[in-house]
């Protein structure tokens, strides 16, 4: 990777932009500087086919003039003229816009906690050859079985750094690394091909297990080769992290965002203190989890990350706030402002959203199921109703469980219901925690879900 921008360089870029914006008439100003460097090895159709490097830097500036908000960004950070140009653009955009009477300025400066296990110099120093090596191990271990075809995947290492400054004197810098390897496979036999099966490993330190990823991705695909149809009825489901992440992201996560609550598009409005899930369910949002994939010192507005209790033993305790929504409710931000790099203004998102594990092992969980389905991957979760929580999705594939054992695989099984009902029917939470996207969670057992077979 080419030399990354130094902490002082990034902070000074942000602080200078804030000062310049104030001089040009901004009442509130905030500058966000981003740098991302990533090297990726790509696997396509059973072989390593590509190697890419992306360097992306940029600066986004948000200003308030008479309570109207403007934002502009550029990816040319080396030139002062380019930065001055976007400051003018942000001010012009604010000038064209309407005042927002709920605007209460930008966050104040607060102390940041030290994050653990989020940066590894070893990842920064990895070369293409090292990553090709990781990808090869994964590919080899997946290809042991001749009917397995690795269709897509790869291995990537990245460095991400942010600096943020605002006109309240807030200034923060944070950097992190991540390495990941992933493989999508299908298995083929005669004219039959399985749905796509997938595994991955991701870590903030240089510690991945490509052999396990390859083996698991292959094992799942092979076990999906022989299928039987299942009948339409209500049954128990074991949801793995992949399925749970998809379902929650488009439903529960929306319901706990404070802006959605304030705007009457969350069923949780007025429900703080009410029972919204089974007593087995406790959710935290925790932006400081040791080594969490989304762990960093502060959020997209420079508010310190924290641990927020969202659901405690089924009872709703808090919503997720950015600074704006918090001020509207007269509370403090929970540090959940999130940015899509330098390209956007912040919006509310979870950091690491954690379903607290129970004490039951995955095997014990299986043994509790007399008749049910083990669900890994879902198709169509993004078409759930984000307001009501209704979903109607396909499990591709799903494994039928009989008397605590996998009986057979089944394809094209539809699941329908409401996520808020599902959460009330969580009977057991296992202890096999892992992180997929923003969700850190174990497997869960859910009672009585509508399964539509053929």
């Amino acid at each position: 990777m080419v030399a990354v921008l130094k902490k002082e360089e990034m902070l000074s870029l942000a602080e200078k932009a804030v000062k310049a914006a104030q001089q040009k008439g901004a009442e509130d100003a905030e500058a966000y500087v981003y740098e991302g460097q990533a090297t990726n090895i790509g696997i396509e159709r059973g072989q390593i086919t590509k190697n890419s490097r992306i360097i992306d830097r940029g600066l986004g500036i948000r200003v308030a003039v008479k309570r109207a908000i403007g934002f502009a960004y550029t990816n040319t950070v080396e030139k002062q003229t380019a930065i001055n140009d976007i400051i003018d653009k942000a001010l012009k955009a604010a000038g064209a816009s309407n005042p927002d009477w709920d605007w209460r300025g930008l966050p104040e400066k607060k102390a940041y906690a030290t994050t653990e296990n989020t940066f590894d110099q070893g990842i920064l120093e990895l070369g293409s050859e090292d990553l090709v090596n990781v990808a090869s191990i994964m590919l080899d271990s997946a290809s042991a079985d001749k009917c397995v075809f690795p269709i897509e995947g790869g291995c990537g290492a990245a460095y991400v750094a942010n600096a943020l400054a605002n006109s309240n004197g807030l200034a923060g810098f944070d950097r992190g690394t991540i390495i990941e390897c992933s493989l999508a496979t299908v298995a083929k036999k005669k004219n039959s091909v399985t749905p796509v099966c997938f595994e991955f490993n991701a870590n903030r330190n240089y510690k991945v297990d490509p052999e396990w990823v390859g083996k698991e991705a292959a094992r799942l695909a092979v076990s999906a080769l022989d299928t039987k149809q299942i009948e339409t009825k209500n049954m128990k489901l074991i949801l793995t992290q992949f399925a749970l992440q998809e379902l929650l992201y488009f439903t529960l996560v929306n319901a706990v965002k404070a802006d959605n609550v304030q705007r009457n598009q969350s069923p949780f409005k007025g429900k703080i203190g009410a029972e919204v899930a089974s007593e087995n369910v406790t959710f935290y949002d925790d932006g400081l989890v040791r080594g969490g994939l989304r762990t960093s010192a502060f959020d997209g507005e420079g508010v310190p990350h924290q641990k927020t209790l969202v659901v405690e033993k089924g009872v709703l305790r808090s919503f997720l706030y950015d600074h704006y929504a918090a001020k509207k409710d007269g509370v403090e931000s929970t540090g959940n402002a999130s940015r899509a790099g330098y390209l956007s203004t912040p919006g509310i998102e979870p950091s690491n959203f954690r379903l607290m594990p129970g004490t039951t092992s995955a095997d014990e969980l299986m043994s509790e199921v007399d008749e049910g389905l083990l669900v890994y991957y879902l198709q169509g979760a993004h078409s759930s109703n984000p307001v009501s929580g209704e979903f109607s999705v396909v499990a591709t594939p799903a494994w039928k469980i009989k008397k605590g054992e996998i009986a057979h695989c089944s394809r094209g099984v539809m699941l329908a219901g409401n996520i808020f009902e599902v959460l009330k029917n969580v009977s057991v939470v296992a202890n096999n925690e892992r992180q997929v996207g923003q969700l850190i969670s174990p497997w869960i057992l859910v009672e009585n879900v509508r399964v539509i077979g053929k």
Partner: protein
């Protein structure tokens, strides 16, 4: 939003685009004066020459882009922020020893670009030792062209104030339709700019880019029942799209749909006959067939590789993927490998007639590239994507389609869809009605349809004579602007996912 494979890559989404909740691709090239364009052409040409002559590349291409965006988000009339962005960068792609090297840099500086292309060549070499089947490219015409976009209402010439006025009017019309409509979010984006493409074969294309897009969502609430409705607007013509998709029309459509769902019943799960409206037919064609026709997926074991020339659908089924529809959201003249776009026949009267190719897959299939290689921006490499994908109309009226359906559903508008390589498709529905004894009945909410392509396409038994094309976005790691559509159709058996 439509999605392709259910492949998730949580780590890389953390790295590049942390959220999928805001806009993706948008570009526009700031105006470069004439002499700078010549200079840029020289730089790109020299870089490609360095790759092939100095660092051993079989092929090299450089794609320089300069883009300008305006974005707005309005929530219940409040402008969250008026946003503008400028992006400049170059994507360099080289083929060395049969493997790809790719580098993206946010700079037009010749020195930085020269270093980056030498790096890309080294990286390709590093990737190549384990190559069993080296990548080769199908031949394509060497092109020299300059594509100017002439827009009646170029978004660059419309003031931010006007854009706020239009989006506020959409907001206002949606919210004031009925008291039960509680919230309305309007996202707006326009993107203008230039893309320069040069490759080592001598092709040089200068292409104007212009996109206008908006997504509107609304929610309604009554007695604890929540409803949600969404709509997208998209054009490559210009801001005049709001003259046809007026704030009044869009607001009413959106609000009405949300209100209807409040009193809707949930559908019964199981197999039944459905009539699909053009909006759902579009996503059905896209998910149930379009993704499988992407030659990269076909080669990965998808079900179409062995079905070329074979009958996989009923006689009334004809599909196209067409990049030439004037002003449509998925139209463009050249793809990001410099190949001219075309109208590609995919299924003719039930028989698979073709696939969607880039130069690499065309070579493998011994076919012509179809102009489907698209890259979201200079940060990423081109991959095979759809353009405007649709079903050709036939001869039925809507009445004829429903008159013999005793019990079924009419699915009018979709919420999202997703495909899988084995042919499993899913389409979530946001506007649906019962069909009872040949007539459209009560509204239904929370439905979706699923099936397997190779079974379901044979079940299309009647095709209407109307036609609509709807804009949207498709996600396959990158986001692409697309359209899809067709006439009303009847499918005599599909699985409906319902909780009742």
């Amino acid at each position: 939003m439509k999605k392709s494979l259910s492949i998730k890559n949580p780590a890389s989404s953390f790295l590049s685009k942390q959220n999928n909740f805001i806009f993706y691709s948008d570009y526009r090239y700031a105006n470069l004066p004439e002499k700078d364009e010549k200079l840029l052409r020289d730089i790109l040409t020299r870089i490609n020459e360095a790759a092939t002559q100095k660092w051993g590349a079989e092929y090299a291409e450089a794609r320089a882009q300069s883009l300008f965006k305006t974005m707005l988000t309005l929530k219940e009339g409040r402008v969250e922020a008026a946003k503008q962005g400028i992006e400049k960068g170059v994507a360099l792609r080289v083929l060395v020893n049969g493997a790809w090297g790719f580098a993206s840099v946010g700079s037009l500086n010749p020195e930085i670009l020269t270093n980056a292309v030498s790096e890309a060549c080294k990286m390709a070499k590093a990737a190549s030792p384990r190559m069993n089947v080296p990548i080769k490219l199908a031949k394509t015409r060497v092109v020299e062209d300059r594509v100017k976009v002439v827009s009646k209402k170029n978004p660059e010439e419309i003031s931010i104030e006007d854009k706020i006025k239009t989006t506020s009017a959409i907001n206002q019309n949606t919210l004031s339709y009925d008291k039960r409509v509680k919230s309305c979010t309007v996202d707006y984006l326009d993107l203008t700019g230039k893309s320069f493409f040069a490759n080592s074969e001598g092709t040089f294309i200068e292409l104007d880019k212009l996109y206008v897009w908006s997504r509107i969502t609304a929610s309604a609430l009554q007695n604890g029942v929540f409803a949600f409705s969404r709509e997208e607007i998209g054009s490559t013509n210009g801001y005049e799209v709001f003259d046809t998709e007026t704030p009044e029309k869009v607001g009413e459509r959106l609000a009405k749909r949300a209100i209807q769902q409040l009193e809707a019943k949930t559908p019964k799960g199981g197999n039944c006959t459905v009539v699909l409206g053009p909006n759902v037919v579009g996503v059905f064609v896209h998910e149930a067939f379009g993704h499988l026709a992407e030659a990269d997926l076909a080669l990965s074991g998808g079900i179409l590789a062995n079905n070329l020339g074979k009958k996989i659908a009923s006689d009334v089924v004809t599909f196209y993927d067409d990049g030439t529809v004037n002003g449509a959201f998925g139209s463009f003249k050249y793809d990001d490998e410099g190949v001219q776009t075309q109208k590609t026949l995919l299924i003719k009267d039930g028989v698979v007639a073709g696939l969607l190719h880039n130069r690499e897959t065309a070579q493998k299939f011994n076919a012509e590239p179809t102009g489907n290689a698209r890259a979201e921006d200079f940060r990423v490499e081109p991959i095979i994507r759809m353009r405007n994908t649709y079903m050709a109309p036939r001869d039925h009226t809507f009445e004829e389609l429903i008159e013999n359906v005793r019990a079924g559903y009419y699915f009018k508008s979709f919420r999202g869809g997703q495909a899988n390589i084995d042919g499993t498709f899913q389409v979530g529905i946001q506007e649906a009605y019962e069909i009872v004894n040949g007539e459209v009945g009560e509204p239904v909410r929370g439905a979706s349809i699923s099936g397997n392509t190779l079974e379901t396409l044979f079940k299309v038994d009647a095709v209407g004579k109307d036609f609509e094309l709807w804009p949207g976005r498709c996600g396959k790691g990158q986001t692409a602007f697309i359209c899809d559509g067709g006439p009303h159709i009847r499918v005599n058996e599909v699985t409906v996912g319902g909780s009742a």
